[in-house]
Protein backbone atom coordinates (compact mmCIF):
# COMPACT_ATOMS: atom_id res chain seq x y z
CA UNK A 1 0.00 0.00 0.00
CA UNK A 2 1.32 3.39 -0.84
CA UNK A 3 1.63 5.92 1.92
CA UNK A 4 2.10 9.54 1.11
CA UNK A 5 4.30 9.95 4.17
CA UNK A 6 6.58 6.98 4.47
CA UNK A 7 8.00 8.04 7.78
CA UNK A 8 4.64 7.69 9.38
CA UNK A 9 4.29 4.00 8.72
CA UNK A 10 4.49 2.04 11.92
CA UNK A 11 3.89 -1.48 10.69
CA UNK A 12 4.10 -2.74 7.15
CA UNK A 13 3.36 -6.31 6.04
CA UNK A 14 4.22 -7.22 2.48
CA UNK A 15 3.35 -10.36 0.56
CA UNK A 16 3.15 -12.51 3.65
CA UNK A 17 2.65 -16.25 3.23
CA UNK A 18 2.15 -18.48 6.28
CA UNK A 19 1.46 -22.21 6.32
CA UNK A 20 0.58 -24.72 9.01
CA UNK A 21 1.98 -28.17 8.41
CA UNK A 22 -0.21 -30.88 9.88
CA UNK A 23 -0.58 -34.64 9.55
CA UNK A 24 -3.63 -34.13 7.41
CA UNK A 25 -2.02 -31.70 5.03
CA UNK A 26 -0.71 -28.16 4.66
CA UNK A 27 -3.03 -25.40 5.76
CA UNK A 28 -2.40 -22.26 3.74
CA UNK A 29 -3.43 -19.75 6.34
CA UNK A 30 -2.01 -16.54 4.87
CA UNK A 31 -1.66 -16.13 1.12
CA UNK A 32 -0.06 -12.92 0.03
CA UNK A 33 -1.18 -10.55 2.77
CA UNK A 34 -0.45 -6.85 2.36
CA UNK A 35 -1.26 -4.65 5.29
CA UNK A 36 0.04 -1.45 6.81
CA UNK A 37 -0.81 0.85 9.67
CA UNK A 38 0.42 4.34 10.41
CA UNK A 39 1.24 5.95 13.70
CA UNK A 40 -1.83 6.83 15.71
CA UNK A 41 -4.14 5.05 13.29
CA UNK A 42 -6.73 2.45 14.18
CA UNK A 43 -7.48 -0.23 11.64
CA UNK A 44 -10.17 -2.84 11.79
CA UNK A 45 -9.21 -6.30 10.55
CA UNK A 46 -12.49 -7.92 9.62
CA UNK A 47 -13.12 -11.48 8.53
CA UNK A 48 -14.87 -14.71 9.33
CA UNK A 49 -13.48 -17.57 11.35
CA UNK A 50 -10.61 -19.13 9.47
CA UNK A 51 -9.84 -16.11 7.33
CA UNK A 52 -6.46 -15.66 8.97
CA UNK A 53 -7.02 -12.79 11.41
CA UNK A 54 -5.47 -14.43 14.45
CA UNK A 55 -2.63 -15.92 12.37
CA UNK A 56 -1.80 -12.41 11.20
CA UNK A 57 -1.68 -11.17 14.79
CA UNK A 58 0.50 -14.04 15.92
CA UNK A 59 2.83 -13.50 12.97
CA UNK A 60 3.33 -9.87 13.91
CA UNK A 61 4.17 -10.81 17.46
CA UNK A 62 6.32 -13.70 16.36
CA UNK A 63 4.43 -16.21 18.46
CA UNK A 64 3.20 -18.65 15.89
CA UNK A 65 3.33 -22.29 17.07
CA UNK A 66 6.90 -23.20 16.29
CA UNK A 67 6.71 -26.78 15.17
CA UNK A 68 3.76 -26.40 12.88
CA UNK A 69 3.71 -22.90 11.47
CA UNK A 70 6.07 -21.62 8.84
CA UNK A 71 6.43 -18.21 7.26
CA UNK A 72 7.32 -19.15 3.72
CA UNK A 73 7.56 -15.69 2.27
CA UNK A 74 7.13 -12.03 2.95
CA UNK A 75 8.19 -9.27 5.27
CA UNK A 76 6.86 -7.65 8.41
CA UNK A 77 8.52 -4.33 9.19
CA UNK A 78 7.98 -2.49 12.44
CA UNK A 79 9.38 1.03 12.40
CA UNK A 80 11.56 -0.08 9.51
CA UNK A 81 12.94 -3.12 11.36
CA UNK A 82 12.38 -6.48 9.67
CA UNK A 83 10.73 -8.68 12.32
CA UNK A 84 11.09 -11.90 10.35
CA UNK A 85 14.84 -11.63 10.07
CA UNK A 86 16.36 -14.09 12.54
CA UNK A 87 19.25 -11.68 13.08
CA UNK A 88 16.82 -9.31 14.73
CA UNK A 89 15.75 -11.80 17.35
CA UNK A 90 16.92 -9.67 20.25
CA UNK A 91 15.19 -6.59 18.99
CA UNK A 92 12.04 -8.61 18.38
CA UNK A 93 11.93 -9.64 22.02
CA UNK A 94 12.10 -6.07 23.16
CA UNK A 95 9.51 -4.99 20.66
CA UNK A 96 7.23 -7.82 21.62
CA UNK A 97 7.42 -6.93 25.28
CA UNK A 98 7.32 -3.18 25.08
CA UNK A 99 6.31 -1.82 21.74
CA UNK A 100 3.58 -4.15 20.59
CA UNK A 101 0.90 -5.37 22.98
CA UNK A 102 -2.02 -7.69 22.55
CA UNK A 103 -5.35 -8.14 24.27
CA UNK A 104 -7.32 -11.31 23.84
CA UNK A 105 -10.91 -12.36 23.69
CA UNK A 106 -10.99 -14.21 26.95
CA UNK A 107 -8.88 -12.43 29.54
CA UNK A 108 -9.68 -15.02 32.21
CA UNK A 109 -7.44 -17.61 30.66
CA UNK A 110 -4.50 -15.24 30.48
CA UNK A 111 -4.72 -14.32 34.16
CA UNK A 112 -3.21 -16.63 36.75
CA UNK A 113 -5.96 -17.61 39.19
CA UNK A 114 -3.71 -17.96 42.23
CA UNK A 115 -2.29 -14.46 42.26
CA UNK A 116 -4.14 -11.23 42.94
CA UNK A 117 -4.62 -8.78 40.13
CA UNK A 118 -2.26 -6.30 41.71
CA UNK A 119 0.45 -8.90 42.10
CA UNK A 120 0.21 -9.96 38.49
CA UNK A 121 0.57 -6.46 37.13
CA UNK A 122 3.36 -5.71 39.60
CA UNK A 123 5.23 -8.87 38.64
CA UNK A 124 5.21 -7.83 35.02
CA UNK A 125 6.58 -4.45 35.99
CA UNK A 126 9.28 -5.88 38.20
CA UNK A 127 10.39 -8.26 35.53
CA UNK A 128 10.29 -6.06 32.46
CA UNK A 129 11.04 -2.68 33.86
CA UNK A 130 13.20 -3.63 36.78
CA UNK A 131 11.10 -1.68 39.22
CA UNK A 132 11.37 -2.31 42.93
CA UNK A 133 8.47 -4.15 44.57
CA UNK A 134 7.12 -0.99 46.18
CA UNK A 135 7.27 1.07 43.02
CA UNK A 136 5.79 -1.74 40.99
CA UNK A 137 2.74 -1.97 43.22
CA UNK A 138 2.32 1.77 43.12
CA UNK A 139 2.42 1.81 39.36
CA UNK A 140 0.01 -1.13 39.27
CA UNK A 141 -2.49 0.86 41.30
CA UNK A 142 -2.19 3.82 38.97
CA UNK A 143 -2.63 1.58 35.95
CA UNK A 144 -5.83 0.12 37.37
CA UNK A 145 -7.16 3.59 37.91
CA UNK A 146 -6.50 4.49 34.30
CA UNK A 147 -8.86 1.71 33.31
CA UNK A 148 -11.51 2.78 35.82
CA UNK A 149 -10.89 0.09 38.40
CA UNK A 150 -10.61 1.20 42.02
CA UNK A 151 -7.01 0.65 43.17
CA UNK A 152 -8.14 -1.14 46.30
CA UNK A 153 -9.44 -3.95 44.08
CA UNK A 154 -5.86 -4.82 43.27
CA UNK A 155 -6.01 -7.15 46.28
CA UNK A 156 -8.68 -9.31 44.66
CA UNK A 157 -8.32 -12.47 42.62
CA UNK A 158 -9.33 -12.87 38.97
CA UNK A 159 -12.36 -14.99 39.79
CA UNK A 160 -13.77 -12.13 41.82
CA UNK A 161 -13.80 -9.88 38.80
CA UNK A 162 -16.56 -9.79 36.23
CA UNK A 163 -15.89 -10.37 32.55
CA UNK A 164 -15.79 -6.67 31.78
CA UNK A 165 -13.41 -5.94 34.62
CA UNK A 166 -11.09 -8.74 33.62
CA UNK A 167 -10.93 -7.35 30.15
CA UNK A 168 -10.07 -3.97 31.60
CA UNK A 169 -7.29 -5.65 33.53
CA UNK A 170 -6.16 -7.29 30.31
CA UNK A 171 -6.03 -3.88 28.68
CA UNK A 172 -4.18 -2.43 31.66
CA UNK A 173 -1.63 -5.23 31.53
CA UNK A 174 -1.15 -4.70 27.81
CA UNK A 175 -0.38 -1.03 28.24
CA UNK A 176 1.60 -1.08 31.42
CA UNK A 177 5.06 -2.02 30.21
CA UNK A 178 7.23 0.12 28.08
CA UNK A 179 5.37 2.48 25.90
CA UNK A 180 3.52 0.41 23.44
CA UNK A 181 3.09 1.96 20.04
CA UNK A 182 0.87 -0.74 18.63
CA UNK A 183 -2.03 -2.49 20.30
CA UNK A 184 -3.49 -5.60 18.74
CA UNK A 185 -6.94 -6.37 20.07
CA UNK A 186 -8.22 -9.83 19.13
CA UNK A 187 -12.01 -9.83 19.50
CA UNK A 188 -11.76 -8.11 22.89
CA UNK A 189 -15.47 -7.63 23.40
CA UNK A 190 -17.01 -10.65 21.74
CA UNK A 191 -17.55 -12.42 25.03
CA UNK A 192 -18.98 -9.40 26.83
CA UNK A 193 -22.48 -8.08 27.32
CA UNK A 194 -23.35 -5.23 25.04
CA UNK A 195 -23.45 -2.54 27.74
CA UNK A 196 -20.10 -3.67 29.06
CA UNK A 197 -18.82 -3.78 25.51
CA UNK A 198 -19.72 -0.14 25.15
CA UNK A 199 -17.70 0.67 28.27
CA UNK A 200 -14.67 -1.21 26.98
CA UNK A 201 -14.84 0.43 23.57
CA UNK A 202 -15.02 3.86 25.19
CA UNK A 203 -12.02 2.96 27.30
CA UNK A 204 -10.05 1.76 24.32
CA UNK A 205 -10.87 4.93 22.44
CA UNK A 206 -9.76 7.06 25.35
CA UNK A 207 -6.48 5.22 25.87
CA UNK A 208 -5.76 5.33 22.20
CA UNK A 209 -6.16 9.09 22.16
CA UNK A 210 -4.15 9.66 25.32
CA UNK A 211 -1.21 7.49 24.30
CA UNK A 212 -1.32 8.07 20.55
CA UNK A 213 -1.54 4.35 20.06
CA UNK A 214 -1.91 2.61 16.77
CA UNK A 215 -4.41 -0.17 16.99
CA UNK A 216 -5.39 -3.22 15.02
CA UNK A 217 -8.91 -4.26 16.02
CA UNK A 218 -9.59 -7.83 14.97
CA UNK A 219 -13.30 -8.52 14.86
CA UNK A 220 -16.17 -9.74 12.77
CA UNK A 221 -18.45 -7.00 14.07
CA UNK A 222 -18.70 -4.27 11.46
CA UNK A 223 -20.46 -1.96 13.90
CA UNK A 224 -17.46 -1.91 16.23
CA UNK A 225 -15.16 -1.18 13.33
CA UNK A 226 -17.39 1.68 12.22
CA UNK A 227 -17.32 3.07 15.75
CA UNK A 228 -13.67 3.07 16.63
CA UNK A 229 -11.59 2.48 13.53
CA UNK A 230 -10.64 5.00 10.93
CA UNK A 231 -9.65 2.36 8.43
CA UNK A 232 -10.77 -1.15 7.71
CA UNK A 233 -9.16 -4.13 5.99
CA UNK A 234 -11.32 -7.09 5.01
CA UNK A 235 -9.48 -10.39 5.14
CA UNK A 236 -10.59 -13.47 3.25
CA UNK A 237 -8.71 -16.75 2.83
CA UNK A 238 -5.51 -15.16 4.03
CA UNK A 239 -5.52 -12.05 1.84
CA UNK A 240 -6.75 -8.53 2.27
CA UNK A 241 -9.40 -8.29 -0.40
CA UNK A 242 -10.58 -4.76 0.33
CA UNK A 243 -9.27 -1.91 2.44
CA UNK A 244 -9.79 1.77 2.92
CA UNK A 245 -11.32 4.29 5.27
CA UNK A 246 -14.26 2.90 7.19
CA UNK A 247 -16.65 5.50 5.85
CA UNK A 248 -15.69 4.79 2.28
CA UNK A 249 -15.67 1.01 2.46
CA UNK A 250 -18.99 0.75 4.27
CA UNK A 251 -20.66 3.28 2.03
CA UNK A 252 -19.18 2.00 -1.21
CA UNK A 253 -18.08 -1.56 -0.81
CA UNK A 254 -16.55 -2.82 -4.04
CA UNK A 255 -15.61 -6.40 -3.41
CA UNK A 256 -18.49 -8.86 -3.77
CA UNK A 257 -17.49 -10.43 -0.46
CA UNK A 258 -17.66 -7.12 1.38
CA UNK A 259 -21.00 -6.40 -0.21
CA UNK A 260 -22.24 -9.82 0.78
CA UNK A 261 -20.91 -9.45 4.31
CA UNK A 262 -22.69 -6.17 4.88
CA UNK A 263 -25.89 -7.62 3.52
CA UNK A 264 -25.77 -10.69 5.70
CA UNK A 265 -25.28 -9.10 9.09
CA UNK A 266 -28.19 -7.85 11.16
CA UNK A 267 -27.55 -4.27 12.07
CA UNK A 268 -29.34 -2.35 14.76
CA UNK A 269 -29.82 0.80 12.74
CA UNK A 270 -30.87 -0.80 9.51
CA UNK A 271 -34.18 -2.50 9.28
CA UNK A 272 -34.03 -5.36 6.84
CA UNK A 273 -36.84 -7.77 6.33
CA UNK A 274 -34.60 -10.51 5.20
CA UNK A 275 -30.92 -11.14 5.65
CA UNK A 276 -29.01 -12.20 2.57
CA UNK A 277 -26.40 -14.70 3.62
CA UNK A 278 -23.44 -15.38 1.41
CA UNK A 279 -24.00 -18.84 -0.02
CA UNK A 280 -21.47 -21.57 0.49
CA UNK A 281 -18.44 -21.64 2.74
CA UNK A 282 -14.96 -20.21 2.76
CA UNK A 283 -12.55 -22.24 0.66
CA UNK A 284 -10.75 -25.05 2.44
CA UNK A 285 -7.32 -23.66 3.27
CA UNK A 286 -5.81 -27.07 2.57
CA UNK A 287 -7.26 -27.00 -0.88
CA UNK A 288 -7.45 -23.46 -2.16
CA UNK A 289 -9.05 -23.02 -5.57
CA UNK A 290 -7.11 -21.63 -8.50
CA UNK A 291 -7.47 -17.94 -9.08
CA UNK A 292 -9.48 -15.79 -6.71
CA UNK A 293 -10.28 -17.75 -3.55
CA UNK A 294 -13.76 -16.21 -3.45
CA UNK A 295 -14.72 -17.43 -6.92
CA UNK A 296 -16.67 -20.45 -5.68
CA UNK A 297 -19.11 -18.21 -3.81
CA UNK A 298 -19.03 -15.12 -5.96
CA UNK A 299 -22.23 -14.38 -7.88
CA UNK A 300 -20.21 -12.51 -10.49
CA UNK A 301 -17.39 -14.95 -11.06
CA UNK A 302 -16.11 -15.09 -14.61
CA UNK A 303 -13.52 -17.33 -16.24
CA UNK A 304 -10.65 -15.02 -15.42
CA UNK A 305 -11.57 -15.23 -11.74
CA UNK A 306 -11.01 -18.96 -11.81
CA UNK A 307 -7.60 -18.62 -13.36
CA UNK A 308 -5.83 -15.60 -12.01
CA UNK A 309 -5.71 -14.33 -8.45
CA UNK A 310 -6.49 -10.62 -8.77
CA UNK A 311 -3.88 -8.06 -7.78
CA UNK A 312 -4.62 -5.00 -5.78
CA UNK A 313 -6.43 -2.22 -7.64
CA UNK A 314 -6.55 1.29 -6.31
CA UNK A 315 -10.01 2.81 -6.49
CA UNK A 316 -9.73 6.04 -4.62
CA UNK A 317 -7.21 7.96 -2.60
CA UNK A 318 -7.38 5.36 0.06
CA UNK A 319 -9.54 2.56 -1.24
CA UNK A 320 -8.00 -0.70 -2.48
CA UNK A 321 -9.66 -3.87 -3.66
CA UNK A 322 -8.52 -7.22 -5.04
CA UNK A 323 -11.03 -8.01 -7.72
CA UNK A 324 -10.84 -8.21 -11.49
CA UNK A 325 -14.04 -6.23 -11.77
CA UNK A 326 -13.43 -3.72 -9.04
CA UNK A 327 -15.68 -0.77 -9.25
CA UNK A 328 -18.27 -2.49 -11.35
CA UNK A 329 -20.30 -3.93 -8.49
CA UNK A 330 -20.84 -0.66 -6.72
CA UNK A 331 -24.46 -0.44 -7.69
CA UNK A 332 -25.36 -3.48 -5.63
CA UNK A 333 -25.57 -1.80 -2.28
CA UNK A 334 -28.36 0.40 -3.52
CA UNK A 335 -30.53 -2.65 -4.09
CA UNK A 336 -30.54 -3.40 -0.36
Amino acid sequence: MKNTNKDNTLLSIKDLFVEYRTYEGTVKAINGLNFSIEKGESVGLVGETGAGKTTTALSILGILPQRIAKVTQGSIKFNGLELLDPKNKKELEIIRGKRISMIFQNPLTSLNPVFTIGEQIAMVLMQHEGLSRKKAFEKAAITLESVNIEPRRAMEYPHQFSGGMRQRVGIAAALVTGNPELLIADEPTTALDVTIQAQILELIKKLQRENNLSMIMITHNLGIVAEICTKVSIIYSGRIIESGSTKEVFKNPRHPYTIGLIGSLPDIAVKKTRLTPIPGFMADPMNLPKGCSFNIRCPYAQDVCKEINPEQTQLGADHFVCCHFAGKHGGLIAKQ
Binding site: Y20, T22, Y23, P65, R67, I68
Partner: protein, 284 residues
Protein backbone atom coordinates in the same frame (compact mmCIF):
# COMPACT_ATOMS: atom_id res chain seq x y z
CA UNK B 1 -13.38 -40.31 16.21
CA UNK B 2 -12.89 -44.04 15.94
CA UNK B 3 -10.82 -43.68 12.79
CA UNK B 4 -8.54 -41.00 14.11
CA UNK B 5 -7.97 -42.88 17.34
CA UNK B 6 -7.12 -46.08 15.50
CA UNK B 7 -4.67 -44.20 13.32
CA UNK B 8 -2.99 -42.79 16.38
CA UNK B 9 -2.86 -46.21 17.97
CA UNK B 10 -1.14 -47.79 15.04
CA UNK B 11 1.32 -44.95 14.85
CA UNK B 12 2.60 -45.68 18.33
CA UNK B 13 5.62 -47.97 18.25
CA UNK B 14 5.21 -49.17 21.80
CA UNK B 15 1.61 -50.07 21.25
CA UNK B 16 2.44 -52.07 18.15
CA UNK B 17 5.20 -53.97 19.92
CA UNK B 18 2.88 -54.68 22.81
CA UNK B 19 0.08 -55.71 20.48
CA UNK B 20 2.25 -58.12 18.54
CA UNK B 21 3.75 -59.72 21.64
CA UNK B 22 0.38 -60.05 23.37
CA UNK B 23 -1.22 -61.51 20.30
CA UNK B 24 1.53 -64.12 20.08
CA UNK B 25 1.22 -64.89 23.77
CA UNK B 26 -2.52 -65.24 23.64
CA UNK B 27 -2.42 -67.44 20.58
CA UNK B 28 0.23 -69.59 22.20
CA UNK B 29 -1.78 -69.93 25.36
CA UNK B 30 -4.88 -70.93 23.43
CA UNK B 31 -3.18 -73.59 21.35
CA UNK B 32 -0.84 -74.69 24.11
CA UNK B 33 -2.55 -78.00 24.92
CA UNK B 34 -1.89 -79.09 21.38
CA UNK B 35 1.68 -77.93 20.98
CA UNK B 36 3.33 -79.05 24.14
CA UNK B 37 5.28 -82.21 24.11
CA UNK B 38 5.32 -83.04 27.76
CA UNK B 39 2.51 -83.24 30.25
CA UNK B 40 2.97 -80.32 32.60
CA UNK B 41 1.69 -82.28 35.53
CA UNK B 42 3.70 -85.38 35.03
CA UNK B 43 6.56 -85.70 37.41
CA UNK B 44 9.79 -87.36 36.41
CA UNK B 45 12.09 -87.39 39.35
CA UNK B 46 14.90 -88.94 37.42
CA UNK B 47 15.08 -85.90 35.19
CA UNK B 48 14.61 -83.24 37.74
CA UNK B 49 16.37 -79.86 37.52
CA UNK B 50 17.61 -80.31 34.03
CA UNK B 51 18.95 -77.07 32.58
CA UNK B 52 17.47 -75.57 29.40
CA UNK B 53 18.62 -77.35 26.33
CA UNK B 54 18.23 -74.62 23.74
CA UNK B 55 16.97 -76.85 21.02
CA UNK B 56 19.82 -79.28 21.56
CA UNK B 57 17.38 -82.13 21.19
CA UNK B 58 15.12 -80.43 18.73
CA UNK B 59 11.65 -80.22 20.17
CA UNK B 60 11.96 -83.48 21.95
CA UNK B 61 14.14 -82.39 24.77
CA UNK B 62 13.19 -80.20 27.66
CA UNK B 63 13.83 -76.94 25.87
CA UNK B 64 13.61 -74.84 28.95
CA UNK B 65 14.65 -77.48 31.41
CA UNK B 66 12.74 -79.13 34.21
CA UNK B 67 11.75 -78.10 37.68
CA UNK B 68 12.39 -79.77 41.01
CA UNK B 69 9.89 -82.51 40.26
CA UNK B 70 11.09 -83.15 36.77
CA UNK B 71 8.17 -81.42 35.16
CA UNK B 72 8.83 -79.72 31.84
CA UNK B 73 9.09 -76.01 32.40
CA UNK B 74 8.07 -74.97 28.91
CA UNK B 75 4.85 -76.93 29.13
CA UNK B 76 4.11 -75.49 32.54
CA UNK B 77 4.75 -71.96 31.32
CA UNK B 78 2.38 -72.38 28.42
CA UNK B 79 -0.40 -74.03 30.36
CA UNK B 80 0.13 -71.62 33.21
CA UNK B 81 -0.38 -68.73 30.81
CA UNK B 82 -3.90 -69.95 30.04
CA UNK B 83 -4.73 -69.76 33.66
CA UNK B 84 -3.17 -66.29 34.05
CA UNK B 85 -4.95 -64.86 31.08
CA UNK B 86 -8.27 -66.43 31.97
CA UNK B 87 -8.16 -65.12 35.51
CA UNK B 88 -7.05 -61.61 34.66
CA UNK B 89 -9.35 -61.09 31.69
CA UNK B 90 -12.31 -62.40 33.67
CA UNK B 91 -11.47 -60.26 36.63
CA UNK B 92 -11.24 -57.13 34.52
CA UNK B 93 -14.43 -57.91 32.62
CA UNK B 94 -16.45 -58.64 35.76
CA UNK B 95 -15.05 -55.67 37.69
CA UNK B 96 -15.74 -53.37 34.81
CA UNK B 97 -19.31 -54.57 34.45
CA UNK B 98 -20.09 -54.22 38.14
CA UNK B 99 -18.14 -51.00 38.51
CA UNK B 100 -19.79 -49.40 35.49
CA UNK B 101 -23.31 -50.27 36.65
CA UNK B 102 -22.70 -48.97 40.13
CA UNK B 103 -20.97 -45.87 38.84
CA UNK B 104 -23.86 -45.13 36.51
CA UNK B 105 -26.39 -45.29 39.31
CA UNK B 106 -24.23 -43.37 41.72
CA UNK B 107 -23.55 -40.61 39.23
CA UNK B 108 -27.00 -40.26 37.80
CA UNK B 109 -29.14 -40.54 40.89
CA UNK B 110 -26.81 -38.91 43.35
CA UNK B 111 -28.12 -38.55 46.85
CA UNK B 112 -28.04 -41.55 49.16
CA UNK B 113 -27.38 -44.03 46.37
CA UNK B 114 -24.28 -42.12 45.43
CA UNK B 115 -23.20 -41.87 49.05
CA UNK B 116 -23.78 -45.54 49.76
CA UNK B 117 -21.88 -46.80 46.74
CA UNK B 118 -19.01 -44.41 47.14
CA UNK B 119 -18.60 -45.07 50.84
CA UNK B 120 -18.55 -48.81 50.27
CA UNK B 121 -15.92 -48.11 47.67
CA UNK B 122 -13.92 -46.04 50.11
CA UNK B 123 -13.95 -48.86 52.64
CA UNK B 124 -12.88 -51.25 49.94
CA UNK B 125 -9.95 -49.11 48.95
CA UNK B 126 -8.72 -48.77 52.47
CA UNK B 127 -8.19 -52.51 52.76
CA UNK B 128 -4.76 -53.48 51.41
CA UNK B 129 -5.38 -55.91 48.62
CA UNK B 130 -3.06 -58.60 49.88
CA UNK B 131 -4.77 -58.58 53.23
CA UNK B 132 -8.04 -58.91 51.38
CA UNK B 133 -6.63 -61.78 49.39
CA UNK B 134 -5.45 -63.59 52.51
CA UNK B 135 -8.81 -63.11 54.19
CA UNK B 136 -10.88 -64.31 51.26
CA UNK B 137 -8.71 -67.34 50.67
CA UNK B 138 -8.64 -68.16 54.34
CA UNK B 139 -12.43 -68.13 54.51
CA UNK B 140 -13.35 -69.55 51.14
CA UNK B 141 -10.32 -71.64 50.33
CA UNK B 142 -7.99 -71.45 47.39
CA UNK B 143 -9.85 -71.87 44.14
CA UNK B 144 -9.88 -70.17 40.80
CA UNK B 145 -13.17 -68.37 41.44
CA UNK B 146 -11.90 -66.98 44.70
CA UNK B 147 -8.84 -65.58 43.03
CA UNK B 148 -11.11 -63.82 40.59
CA UNK B 149 -13.28 -62.66 43.47
CA UNK B 150 -10.31 -61.06 45.20
CA UNK B 151 -9.36 -59.23 42.04
CA UNK B 152 -12.87 -58.00 41.39
CA UNK B 153 -13.16 -56.70 44.93
CA UNK B 154 -9.86 -54.91 44.49
CA UNK B 155 -10.58 -53.02 41.31
CA UNK B 156 -14.32 -52.50 40.86
CA UNK B 157 -14.09 -49.24 42.75
CA UNK B 158 -11.84 -47.65 40.16
CA UNK B 159 -14.38 -48.22 37.44
CA UNK B 160 -17.22 -47.01 39.61
CA UNK B 161 -15.44 -43.79 40.48
CA UNK B 162 -14.35 -43.12 36.93
CA UNK B 163 -17.79 -43.68 35.52
CA UNK B 164 -19.44 -41.72 38.28
CA UNK B 165 -17.47 -38.55 37.63
CA UNK B 166 -18.01 -38.84 33.90
CA UNK B 167 -21.72 -39.33 34.47
CA UNK B 168 -21.92 -36.28 36.69
CA UNK B 169 -20.38 -34.23 33.91
CA UNK B 170 -22.57 -35.77 31.23
CA UNK B 171 -25.70 -35.15 33.26
CA UNK B 172 -25.32 -31.44 32.75
CA UNK B 173 -24.75 -31.68 29.03
CA UNK B 174 -27.41 -30.19 26.84
CA UNK B 175 -27.95 -33.40 24.90
CA UNK B 176 -29.27 -34.91 28.09
CA UNK B 177 -31.66 -31.98 28.51
CA UNK B 178 -32.67 -32.41 24.89
CA UNK B 179 -33.57 -36.04 25.58
CA UNK B 180 -35.52 -35.10 28.68
CA UNK B 181 -37.68 -32.63 26.85
CA UNK B 182 -38.46 -35.20 24.20
CA UNK B 183 -39.99 -37.23 27.00
CA UNK B 184 -37.29 -39.86 27.39
CA UNK B 185 -37.36 -42.06 30.48
CA UNK B 186 -34.53 -42.09 32.97
CA UNK B 187 -33.28 -45.48 31.81
CA UNK B 188 -33.28 -44.35 28.19
CA UNK B 189 -31.16 -41.36 29.10
CA UNK B 190 -28.84 -43.38 31.33
CA UNK B 191 -28.18 -46.27 29.01
CA UNK B 192 -28.63 -44.82 25.57
CA UNK B 193 -27.37 -41.29 25.98
CA UNK B 194 -24.93 -41.19 28.85
CA UNK B 195 -23.35 -44.64 28.83
CA UNK B 196 -21.78 -44.44 25.36
CA UNK B 197 -20.09 -41.25 26.41
CA UNK B 198 -18.54 -42.48 29.59
CA UNK B 199 -17.14 -45.76 28.39
CA UNK B 200 -13.94 -44.44 26.84
CA UNK B 201 -12.02 -43.84 30.08
CA UNK B 202 -13.03 -47.33 31.14
CA UNK B 203 -11.51 -48.76 28.02
CA UNK B 204 -8.27 -47.02 28.84
CA UNK B 205 -8.44 -48.20 32.43
CA UNK B 206 -9.19 -51.80 31.48
CA UNK B 207 -6.30 -51.96 29.05
CA UNK B 208 -3.98 -50.73 31.73
CA UNK B 209 -5.27 -53.10 34.35
CA UNK B 210 -4.83 -56.38 32.56
CA UNK B 211 -1.10 -56.21 33.07
CA UNK B 212 -1.60 -55.48 36.73
CA UNK B 213 -4.05 -58.31 37.20
CA UNK B 214 -1.61 -60.79 35.68
CA UNK B 215 0.96 -59.56 38.11
CA UNK B 216 -1.46 -59.70 41.01
CA UNK B 217 -2.39 -63.26 40.21
CA UNK B 218 1.27 -64.24 40.12
CA UNK B 219 1.79 -62.55 43.45
CA UNK B 220 -1.11 -64.38 45.01
CA UNK B 221 0.12 -67.67 43.65
CA UNK B 222 3.61 -66.93 44.85
CA UNK B 223 2.27 -66.37 48.33
CA UNK B 224 0.36 -69.59 48.17
CA UNK B 225 -3.05 -68.04 47.84
CA UNK B 226 -3.66 -68.94 44.26
CA UNK B 227 -4.89 -72.13 42.80
CA UNK B 228 -3.15 -74.97 44.55
CA UNK B 229 -0.67 -77.32 42.97
CA UNK B 230 -0.40 -79.16 40.75
CA UNK B 231 -2.11 -76.58 38.48
CA UNK B 232 0.76 -74.68 36.97
CA UNK B 233 0.89 -70.97 37.58
CA UNK B 234 3.79 -68.68 37.05
CA UNK B 235 3.64 -67.43 40.59
CA UNK B 236 3.64 -70.89 41.99
CA UNK B 237 6.52 -71.86 39.76
CA UNK B 238 8.56 -68.97 41.06
CA UNK B 239 7.62 -69.81 44.59
CA UNK B 240 8.58 -73.45 44.31
CA UNK B 241 11.78 -72.65 42.51
CA UNK B 242 13.02 -70.26 45.17
CA UNK B 243 14.82 -72.94 47.05
CA UNK B 244 16.83 -73.92 44.02
CA UNK B 245 17.79 -70.41 43.02
CA UNK B 246 21.53 -71.00 43.25
CA UNK B 247 21.74 -74.43 41.78
CA UNK B 248 19.04 -74.23 39.13
CA UNK B 249 18.24 -70.58 38.57
CA UNK B 250 16.26 -71.23 35.40
CA UNK B 251 13.44 -72.69 37.44
CA UNK B 252 12.75 -69.20 38.79
CA UNK B 253 14.13 -67.13 35.95
CA UNK B 254 12.11 -68.62 33.15
CA UNK B 255 8.68 -67.96 34.65
CA UNK B 256 9.98 -64.65 35.99
CA UNK B 257 11.05 -63.48 32.57
CA UNK B 258 7.84 -64.76 31.03
CA UNK B 259 5.89 -62.76 33.59
CA UNK B 260 7.94 -59.68 32.96
CA UNK B 261 7.55 -59.79 29.20
CA UNK B 262 3.83 -60.40 29.43
CA UNK B 263 3.13 -57.61 31.90
CA UNK B 264 5.35 -55.22 29.95
CA UNK B 265 3.61 -56.02 26.69
CA UNK B 266 0.16 -55.44 28.21
CA UNK B 267 1.40 -52.23 29.75
CA UNK B 268 2.54 -51.04 26.36
CA UNK B 269 -0.92 -51.71 25.04
CA UNK B 270 -2.42 -49.85 27.97
CA UNK B 271 -0.19 -46.85 27.47
CA UNK B 272 -0.87 -46.82 23.77
CA UNK B 273 -4.62 -46.85 24.31
CA UNK B 274 -4.36 -44.09 26.90
CA UNK B 275 -2.30 -41.89 24.63
CA UNK B 276 -4.49 -42.51 21.62
CA UNK B 277 -7.57 -41.36 23.51
CA UNK B 278 -5.90 -38.42 25.17
CA UNK B 279 -6.95 -35.30 23.31
CA UNK B 280 -3.90 -33.38 24.46
CA UNK B 281 -1.59 -35.78 22.72
CA UNK B 282 -3.15 -34.82 19.45
CA UNK B 283 -0.54 -32.76 17.68
CA UNK B 284 -1.66 -30.38 14.95
Amino acid sequence: MGNQTLKRLFRSKFFMIGLVVCTILIILSIISPWIIYYDPLKTDLQNKLLPPRWLADGFKGHILGTDSLGRDILARILIGSRYSFFVSFSAVAISASIGIMLGLFAGYFGGWIDNLIMRIGDVQLSIPNLLLAITVVAILGPAIQNVILVMVLTIWVQYARLIRSSVVISKSMEYVSASKILGASKSWILFRQILPNVLTPCLVLASQQIGWMIFLEATMSFLGMGVPSPTPSWGTMISLGRNYLYIAPWVVLVPGIALMITVLAFNFIGDGVRDAFDPKMRSG
